[in-house]
Subunit: 147 residues, 2 copies
DNA sequence: ACTGATAGTTTAGGGGGTAAACTATTGACC
DNA sequence: GGTCAATAGTTTACCCCCTAAACTATCAGT
C-alpha cells in the first residue's frame, strides 16, 4: 500500500501539477495564443450559465473577485462578452456576445479533435471507460474539497 | 462514441486545465505559500538528477532558459540550491543544499498525507488501481507528445 | 435618514511566461 | 596563434495571472 501511495503522489505531481501546464504551453493554436486558458475558462462558464455575476464567476473559478474583474475587463475589450444591468444596480450580469460564442465553439472543436486523435491512437476502448470513470471522480472531488 | 469524446473533453478541461490550479491555490500550507509550484518542481527535478544544467532543466520543465534563470535566482536567494562550476566555465551545475533537500522532503510528505487521506476516504481499492493505470498512461503521453 | 452589508473596481506587490539582445567562453578551422 | 561561429546563461521589455486591502457605489433594515 505504501508504495502505491508513493507512486500516486509522483503521478499526481507529474500529470496534474506540471504536465498540463507544459502541454498547454506547447500547443500552438492561434486561439490559445490570443486568449489565455483563464479567459477561455471564463467564456466557458459564462456560456454554461447564460448570465452570471462576477461574484459567482469568482467562486466557480476559485479566485478573488479582483482577478475576475481583471479578466472580464479584457474579455469586454475583446468584445467576447457584454454586460447586462439588473434591477440591483450594484450587480452586473455577464453574457457572451456572438463573437464570444464563436470563440468558445471553435475552442471546443479543436480540443475535441485533439482528444479524439489522442484516444484513437494511444488508448484502447477499455481504457477510455476507465479514464472517464476516474476523471468523473476527480472532478467531483475537486469541486467539493479541493484535491 | 461521439458522446464519450464530448464528455472526455469536458472532463479534460475541468480537471486538468482548471481543477488543479484551483486546488493548488486553495491548499493552505506554509510551504506552498513560501515556494511556488514551479519552484518546487525545480527542486524536485534537481533532486532527481543530482546535478543539472540550466539548459536541461529548461527542457524538462518545458520553458525557456530565461524562465529557468529567473527561477534559479530565487532558489539561490532562498539558499535551497547551490552552483557548482564545471571545467566548461560557461556552464553551471545546480544541486540541492541541505535546506533544499529538507524542503523537498517536507513537501513530499505533505502531499503523501493528502493523497492518502483522499484515497482512503473517497476512493476504493479497485479505483486506486485504475487511477494509477490511467495516470501512468497520461504521464507517458505527456512526455512524448504533449497531450 | 443612518449604517452595515454587498458588488465590483482599483492599486500595490509578487508569481509565471516569451522573445530578443547581450556577455562570456569554448572549440574548430585557417 | 588568431578569428569567428556556436553555446550557456543573464538581462530587459512586455505580457498574463494572482492576492490583499482600500475604495466606490448601491442596497436594505432599523
Amino acid at each position: 500500500m505504501d508504495m502505491r501511495i508513493k507512486e500516486a503522489v509522483e503521478l499526481f505531481q507529474e500529470v496534474l501539477f506540471y504536465g498540463t501546464e507544459r502541454v498547454i504551453r506547447s500547443v500552438d493554436n492561434p486561439l490559445w495564443e490570443e486568449f489565455s486558458p483563464e479567459q477561455m475558462q471564463s467564456l466557458k462558464l459564462i456560456g454554461k450559465e447564460g448570465q452570471i455575476t462576477s461574484a459567482r464567476l469568482a467562486v466557480l473559478q476559485g479566485v478573488h473577485k479582483s482577478a475576475v474583474s481583471n479578466r472580464t475587463k479584457k474579455l469586454l475589450q475583446k468584445e467576447l462578452i457584454q454586460v447586462v444591468q439588473t434591477a440591483d444596480r450594484r450587480e452586473k450580469l455577464l453574457e457572451l456576445t456572438a463573437a464570444g460564442r464563436a470563440v468558445l465553439e471553435e475552442s471546443d472543436k479543436i480540443l475535441a479533435e485533439y482528444v479524439e486523435n489522442l484516444m484513437s491512437e494511444q488508448v484502447d476502448d477499455q481504457e477510455i471507460e476507465q479514464f472517464l470513470k476516474i476523471f468523473r471522480k476527480l472532478s467531483a472531488i475537486m469541486k467539493t474539497d479541493g484535491v
